[in-house]
Symmetry: C2
Amino acid sequence: MKQQILVDMDGVLANTYAQYIALEYKRSGKMLAMEDLRGKSEERAFPSYEEDVNSINFFGTAPLIEDSIEGLQYLNDKYKVIIVSSATEFPNSLNEKRGWLAKHFPFISWKQMIFCGSKEYIQGDIMIDDHPKNLRIFSGRKILFTQPHNVNIRNDNFERVTSWKEIMNIL
Amino acid sequence: MKQQILVDMDGVLANTYAQYIALEYKRSGKMLAMEDLRGKSEERAFPSYEEDVNSINFFGTAPLIEDSIEGLQYLNDKYKVIIVSSATEFPNSLNEKRGWLAKHFPFISWKQMIFCGSKEYIQGDIMIDDHPKNLRIFSGRKILFTQPHNVNIRNDNFERVTSWKEIMNIL
């Protein structure tokens, strides 16, 4: 029986940081540097966070995290993969997120997708997520995917990975 | 601690049967009678099922099941309510479903919504659903909401309800 693995979307498959930075550059001409974003929540790090996440095509055109296609294919062969994305907060994001997944990860079926508000009701053996709040309410093995907002997180019982290559090494 | 109750959308909150019947009448002039639909899956009962469920505004304009607003408000005061809807199969349904819930049930927050492919990964103490397949893979208390497609289901350990009034009586 394959283990069930819950894979987050934003910050794990979708490079939402690159998307915020590109939009901010387009808007203000200011190129935000990664070191300015470290340790700050996305809401604090990006001046137009609210506007961006609610804009049309924000999620639908997000670039991919490096090696995420190869990595997710690897996991999908070995585990029961479920993509679990916090999405219901943003009314227009749902169709875009589903379309984005289907476009980049055609080997993931609609049966493997969950779009939710809170992740506390979703069962699994392993969770990969960049948000500590999601890992903290999860009862299985917790893998924290490094993003600038979580670099200072140290006290929890998370395994930290910084890339999909690392995920493929440990799973 | 409140018990967690998973409430289905189509066939429990949304009157999708009324929607199929109205579309079929508009299309062919034929008014399908409830007795012709009994014991048949929706796919078999409605000649244009595939076209209908994939059409724009099918879910967004679905009428309400009788007493569902009052009933869900009752449950929401007494339980931890999560709306769990199979939606990812239909690429355009997600935003519509979220909008429909927000419009008719403003007391349900986005944190209480889950749109998925399969319901087997969702935890809860009680599930209300019109589809036996969803109840069979659920480990808690199983409540079957009567719809024409499920009238012949008898062998399972489900509690059957035929209305929201009945739900309010037993929960």
